[in-house]
Every structure is written in structure tokens, then in C-alpha cells.
């Protein structure tokens, strides 16, 4: 899959990671262009459904990043987020989503280099994993279905 260009969606918090990404830009650090950044006031505001929506509309990888613990502009947003990610990662893994494609991280406003490195590593890993098609056009599966018990698709 040499020419596969993965689409990565990054959900980042405005005060730290977004500023860090901005710093990477102003200090001319080159990093892979595959990332589309979505800015949130805080990681505490990143709803888990958004990650599902991103995977469903064609994202091959996801980065979720915000302030380090104790740095949160709203004091406890990232603590709540941390618990939410722990539980959500367990649930997605249990259902069988490919959680290797979801990278969680803390990037502060001063860590432009870490942001660039994070993006490059994620893009490389997802490029090697290939496109994530398991969770796409599932809204066609079962439409007009005449069988209630779908045939077992396990290998």
C-alpha cells in the first residue's frame, strides 16, 4: 500500500495541543499533511460519538490530544477525559474496533516538536495498517434485509 495516503482526524484542545501545533507551524517544523485538526475548548468536551462519526465518514486514524494532567485550562477537563478514554478504549476494543488506529496523547503549548513527531508516527503507523474500511458503508448492511439472523460471517 505504498501510495495510500491515510486520512487522520485530530481532536485537539484549544489551549495546549492546538497552540502546540501552531508553534510547530511558526517554527517551520515539517510534518505529514494527512491530519485534519478539529479544535475543542477542552478534551473534556470531546464526545466519544465524534470518534465514531469520524471513523464512519472515512477517517483511517484518529489523534485525540490535549493538555497534560494539571495543565487543564478548566482544571479538570483532561482528568474526566482520561477516564472517558480509558473506558471508551476498553469498549471499542471489546467490540473489535481497531484501536491501534486511535492515538491518545498529551501535547502542551510548548511541545511543537512532540506534535510533529506524534503526527508523523501516527501517519506512518496508519499507512502501514492500510485503509480502515471495516466501519464504512455499514449503513447499507441490513437495508431491505430479508433475513433476521444474518449469516455468520466469522471466518
Amino acid at each position: 500500500m505504498s501510495n495510500f495516503e491515510p486520512k487522520i482526524i485530530a481532536f485537539v484542545c484549544n489551549w495546549c495541543t492546538y497552540a502546540g501545533a501552531d508553534l510547530a507551524g511558526t517554527s517551520r517544523i515539517k510534518y505529514a499533511p494527512n491530519v485534519r485538526i478539529v479544535r475543542f475548548p477542552c478534551t473534556g468536551r470531546i464526545d466519544f460519538m465524534l470518534l465514531l462519526k469520524a471513523l464512519q465518514t472515512g477517517a483511517d486514524g484518529i489523534i485525540v490530544s490535549g493538555c497534560h494532567p494539571a495543565d487543564c485550562h478548566y482544571t479538570s477537563g483532561n482528568y474526566h477525559a482520561r477516564r472517558r478514554w480509558m473506558i471508551f478504549k476498553t469498549l471499542l476494543d471489546f467490540i473489535g474496533f481497531d484501536t491501534r488506529r486511535i492515538t491518545f496523547s498529551w501535547v502542551s503549548a510548548a511541545e511543537g516538536a512532540k506534535w510533529a513527531q506524534l503526527v508523523n508516527e501516527t501517519v506512518a503507523k496508519v499507512r502501514e495498517l492500510g485503509p480502515y474500511t471495516e466501519y464504512e458503508n455499514l449503513n447499507k448492511l441490513g437495508v431491505g434485509s430479508i433475513t433476521e439472523v444474518m449469516n455468520a460471517r466469522t471466518a
Binding site: F48, F94, I95, M150
Partner: protein
Amino acid sequence: MQELHNKIKSMLEGNSVALFIAYQKNSDGKITPTFITKPEQIKKAYYGDDCRQNLAVYVHKHEVKHFGKVGILANIYTLKALLQIYAENQFKDDYLKIVTVNPKGAVVEFANFQEVENYISENKPAPNPEYVAQVEKLSNLGREERWNYWLNELSTCIKCYACRAACPMCYCTKCTVESNQPQWISAPSHSLGNIEWHVMRAMHLAGRCIECNECARVCPMDIPLNLLTVKINEAIDTEFGQEAGTKGKLDFALSTFKVDDKENFIR
């Protein structure tokens, strides 16, 4: 059973309750809820280990609240549900009169939720071993196998929402699944709409599910829905040491945090 009937009779006649929710055993052996308002209905009341439906779902019902003072016969799961709902400040202290039958067969009436909390800490049921084993078996499968298993199971969901209706913790007046601005969950029951629905349901029950396993019992398609919340409860127990329905004050996973919560996957 006679002791239970006398208790209900005294509550009804002392009009400390206007309605008493209990179980009844029908001629064909089926256990169904019964709503006792008049003394002559008391003789139908029944309690046994085969009473599985979680009657706590009825305390949210508009027409039940209309009765004012309500009594409820609770098994251990109903007690855990009522304590968790009370912890989430959903009803005042004097709304409910809770009665249970303890393992020794004695009828116990609780004066307040502190007594309920103590009773639960003594009689707390262990997670159902059958479901723990199923979660274990599934967790050990490969990722693709697990994905195909759940995709196959969840694709049969017909979105009748019996799992939501039978769950005592699902009491939101407007469920996220009913929101269409934004359309968080695709409404039709194709595989995508089903997966989105069951992921959201499990996440909104994270740290709140008391594992009465009613969602799996009532599913017309026999989808093992409860495994999703059993797995999350296991993770919460190991990582945060919390369990739903054991404390009277708000203390469940997603609405509290510890500064030194440990994790191994955030870089």
C-alpha cells in the same frame, strides 16, 4: 408470603403508600409485575428467586408518580438500581417505601437509603459467573473475530428499544437516540445505526449499570447486550475500584476522577 401480604396491608391501610408495586405469579408460572392499590389485590403478591424483572423502571413512570406515595418490592438488583437512582438525585427521600425479602425470608422495610446502602453492602451479589465467562471468552478472541461476532450480533438488532425501556438506569426524558439535531445515532436499524446505538448506550451506562442483566433477557433477538456493560464494569472495578449501586452519594466513574488515575496508553 403471608408476612409480605401483612406488610403490604399495613402500608396500604396506614396509607403510607397509595400504590404498591410487587410481583405476581400467573397460572402458567410466568412472573409479572402487579400494581396493588386495593386490599383485595394483596393476595396476588409473590416473591421468589425467579422474580427477575427490575421493578425500579416503574418509579420513573409518569402515571406511577401520579399516585404520590409509592411502595415497591425490591430484589437485590432493584435495590442497587434504586440506590444508584437516588444517588443521581432523581427522587426525594419520602417518595418511595422500599420493602425486600432478605435471604432468610424475613420481610424488611427500609426507613431511608442509608439502610439500603448497608443492606446492599452485606448482600451484594457477585457478578454472574456465566456472563463473566462469556466476556472472558470473547476478550481472548482475536480482534477480527470479535469484530465479526459483534457485527453479526448487533446487525440483527431491530431497534425496538426494549433494552432501554427495561433498564432502570435509562430514565432520561429525551434520550440521545431521539435527538435529530444533530442526528447522533442513525435512526434506521441498519448495522451502522445499531452499532452506534449500542456503543452509545453502553457508554452512557458506564459506571452506572448495576448488572441486573435485564437488557439481555428482554431482547427479542437474544443479543447478549449485557456483556458490553459487564466488560465496562470489570474495567472500572479494576482501574477505579468503583461499583454502581453501592453508595448513596454520587460516586460513579465518569463523573468523578482522581488526579493520580493510572493509564498506560496516553503518550
